[in-house]
Symmetry: C2
Subunit: 151 residues, 2 copies
């Protein structure tokens, strides 16, 4: 009971915080947009459009997939969400303010976050080109699959 109450109030505080972030970016925080933003905030598994759509559809039965696409493209344009193309077939979306890298496991296909320890130079000018955005994509075998291999 106590825990549930606390959790609910936390959720509410969070929602208003997220609303503020959207407003600060000049994005009207509509019901759908806030729901999608909240989903991204709570699910750091680099979800696909379909995952977001299927999950939110249960609560918002009228939700359209086009709205999910529209909203995510808007978020990307405003810079609060990143689109990952490490998956060859479909885009994945990521809300993460801290700089980090992505590793795709070739075994389990999961995309892991790697805390970036500034291992990559933070120049903003390389060979005369102005660098605005950096993404490091790693491919390999994740530690959980490595453990399974050993057995």
């Amino acid at each position: 009971m106590e825990v549930k109450k606390l959790k609910m109030s936390m959720t509410n505080v969070l929602k208003s915080d997220l609303k503020k972030i959207l407003l600060d970016c000049g994005i009207q925080p509509s019901f759908q947009r806030l729901a999608i933003f909240e989903y991204l905030y709570q699910h750091d598994v680099h979800p696909t459009v379909d995952m977001i759509y299927r999950s939110l559809s249960r609560d918002i039965p009228t939700l359209s997939k086009t709205t999910v696409y529209n909203t995510l493209n808007l978020f990307i344009k405003k810079g609060i969400v990143t689109g990952l193309t490490i998956e060859e077939n479909e885009m994945r979306y990521d809300y993460n303010v801290k700089p980090h890298l992505h590793l795709k496991c070739t075994k389990c296909k999961k995309i892991w976050d790697i805390k970036c320890d500034a291992s990559f130079s933070n120049l903003n000018l390389i060979e005369g080109h102005r660098i605005l955005e950096k993404q490091v994509y790693l491919k390999g075998i994740c530690r959980s699959c490595l453990k399974k291999q050993k057995k």
Copy 2:
């Protein structure tokens, strides 16, 4: 006349070299495969499947797009070609043995090669994950577009 002759013999030398590379990788160097490999070797502009197909079709009218897809996937599996997903909509292919980064210009949409000066750590184990492949995707404004801006 002299130049043409020289160029032809160079092309021949090159072709047999490329054939050897394929054989060394356990790839039967069929006419189509060799043509696709040669195209990648000569065109470092990160071509799409369609670009490769349209160009080679003029010399090989019976060429099928599926063959291009099959061949490129085979090359990737054998590790002599890299597939770039920096473009959000379509795959681009790259034959380049030397380590390098890719920069996509947000203005002219071109993908530039950046000579990698080992600016990224070459660990093969990060946070317990085994790293097999690294790709650094940069986005920004290329030097040629920056020059145009200044005028």
